[in-house]
């Protein structure tokens, strides 16, 4: 895997993955085997459990906040001290039986509810972006690698352009100039538009290797159509790379979403988002550090778990393909 010349890293940058050098070198590593290996790895299991909790939080957000008693947009003026400029009552940012993670300074919104709803936003955006970049990356990578010639030229130039482009600056500019509209959808589109070349580049290279393998020629010689060659012969052999690349890109997209929301161009208030919470906590960090610590911890642990899990999956697949 060659790394292109020096360029400025962006929030979007997906880690350059050292995949098994020879795609399609062995039999497929079954999904069951991947899961089995992960279940026997303590660190992976821990990450899996944490991510499961976050996902469940996101899915059942309305139910959970009903149980905890406070919605994400309900103001609890009783929980803050208006004489002190809105600092929450009690120590640790107002953590109590009433407000499990404390409250937001100044307006007293329940932090637990906002974390739960924020998980929804982060995960929906990150997963949608992953699916979209996955589709774009695989399709364009396959096209460029299989057809070569002018198709490859055209796709590769677009990829070079997108990867060399200062994506973050462009995203900030475009998101702040566009009318609010449907922000989450817009975020997904913008993140994916800049994210797919990183996957496509890997897929393109591996497709080129695979297209020259004799089994593709043999399939062609037995009467297979190009479509069948691409989707039946080549694509399945890319499964490992696609799984690894996409898993490792999810934490990047969560970070990007949080970053853009932190900068004020992500999801618009009052929709809760972890990045936005961190952003508004900055001016309070000396009087109410918990307001920063809680969303910060969730963001950190989510990104960490996804990265560790992605790495583990990669090593299982690599080991599987090497045998």
């Amino acid at each position: 895997m060659t790394v292109a010349g020096p360029r400025t890293p962006t929030l979007l940058e997906v880690e350059e993955v050292g995949l098994a050098g020879d795609p399609g070198g062995g039999p497929p590593t079954s999904t069951g085997r991947i899961l089995g290996k992960l279940a026997r790895d303590k660190a992976a299991l821990l990450c899996l459990v944490f991510l499961l909790i976050v996902v469940l939080m996101a899915v059942f957000a309305p139910l959970i906040t009903k149980l905890s008693g406070w919605g994400p947009d309900e103001f609890d003026s009783g929980a803050i001290n208006s004489d002190l400029g809105g600092v929450p009552h009690g120590s640790l940012g107002g953590i109590s039986g009433e407000h499990w993670f404390g409250v937001e300074p100044q307006n007293g919104r329940d932090l637990f509810a906002r974390i739960v709803y924020g998980a929804r936003v982060s995960i929906t955006i990150a997963l949608s972006a992953t699916v979209l970049t996955g589709i774009l990356g695989v399709v364009f990578g396959l096209l460029a690698g299989f057809y070569r010639g002018w198709v490859d030229q055209a796709i590769s130039r677009v990829m070079d352009f997108l990867m060399a482009f200062p994506a973050l600056i462009f995203m900030i500019a475009i998101l702040s100039s566009l009318p609010a509209g449907n922000r989450p959808v817009l975020l997904v589109v913008v993140i994916s538009a800049f994210g797919w070349p990183y996957l496509a580049r890997v897929i393109r290279g591996q497709t080129m290797t695979l297209a020259n393998r004799e089994f593709v020629e043999a399939a062609r010689a037995s009467g297979a159509k190009n479509v069948a060659l691409v989707f039946r012969e080549i694509l399945p052999n890319l499964r490992g790379s696609i799984i690894v690349m996409t898993t490792l890109s999810v934490p990047g997209y969560i970070g990007t979403e949080a970053g853009l929301s932190f900068l004020g161009v992500g999801v618009t208030p009052p929709t809760a988002s972890w990045g936005q919470m961190i952003s508004s906590s900055v001016s309070w960090y000396s009087v109410d550090p918990m307001f920063f610590a809680i969303p910060g911890t969730f963001l950190f642990l989510t990104v960490l778990s996804l990265t560790v899990l992605g790495d583990k999956i990669r090593s299982v697949i690599d080991a599987g393909e090497a045998t």
Binding site: R220, A224, P236
Partner: protein
């Protein structure tokens, strides 16, 4: 002439290169009958594979061809891609040099044989599976009924080449092109594969084009021989003619390079 199964006349293949178009096959003519074997010999780069690929319309992009290639009187050269697809793997099959990479590592061998069969013959999955098992038995894979569900890496090189042959023969083609099918295998396995090919040929009456640069192999399997040198057909005739009385200097050089052949011809 017309009763011949497969007729190639003045086949010329021109490939685009950075130094302009190059004729990699020049005016090649030969015929293959039913149950007949033609051997094509020549050193590396002499255009043997290009001749085979031209027949199936599998040349690299930009290649041009002229001449005539007829199977059962039907012209193949210049046919549409769709037309050629229905011929490939059906009326004409091909076996490639490297059995280790000719099978897709992602699928079981049974599935790959079934797919090839159903692409041309259709039918149910179950029927195709039966065909696959029978094809594997025919090429003498032991315990075929169980081994259809194994992946390519679970077979030896020789077995994989047998499976490739099984796949090539499952649609009962009238012509089989084997492009150096034994080069990647060791000598004893080579002999078994050759024996198998000869045996299957007598059973099915398939015409066979056998490409190799090993003259010993040719002398044991082919009835007629085409010798190629840098794209030119330098010698064409029956095996006895070519080996006992080579008319061309190049053939003599090839023969001299293989001392074993002389012993055999002496007999």
């Amino acid at each position: 002439m017309t009763d011949e199964l497969f007729v190639v006349e003045d086949l010329t293949v021109t490939l685009p290169t950075s130094r302009g178009p190059v004729d990699v096959v020049k005016d090649v003519s030969f015929t293959v009958g039913r149950d007949d074997t033609l051997g094509i010999v020549g050193e590396s780069g002499s255009g043997k594979s290009m001749t085979a690929l031209a027949v199936l319309g599998l040349l690299p992009p930009g290649a041009r061809t002229s001449g005539s290639v007829r199977l059962d009187g039907r012209e193949l050269l210049g046919q549409s891609e769709g037309e050629l697809r229905s011929v490939r793997g059906n009326a004409i099959s091909m076996v490639f040099q490297d059995p280790l990479s000719s099978l897709n590592p992602y699928y079981t061998v049974g599935l790959q044989i079934e797919e090839g069969y159903r692409a041309h013959r259709g039918g149910s999955k179950r029927a195709a599976r039966q065909v696959a098992i029978e094809a594997m038995e025919r090429v003498r894979i032991p315990d075929a009924a169980r081994r259809v569900d194994d992946y390519p890496h679970q077979f030896s090189g020789g077995q994989r080449q047998r499976i490739m042959i099984a796949m090539a023969l499952c649609c009962s083609p009238s012509l089989l092109i084997a492009d150096e099918p034994t080069t990647a295998l060791d000598v004893t396995v080579q002999a078994q594969i050759l024996e198998l090919l000869a045996e299957l040929q007598t059973q099915t009456g398939t015409g066979l084009i056998f490409i190799t640069h090993d003259l010993a192999v040719i002398s044991s399997i082919a009835r007629r021989v085409l010798v190629m040198c840098a794209g030119d057909p330098v010698e064409y005739g029956t095996a006895e003619q070519v080996f006992s009385d080579p008319r061309h200097e190049y053939t003599r050089t090839l023969l001299d390079a293989v001392p074993r052949i002389d012993d055999e011809v002496m007999l």
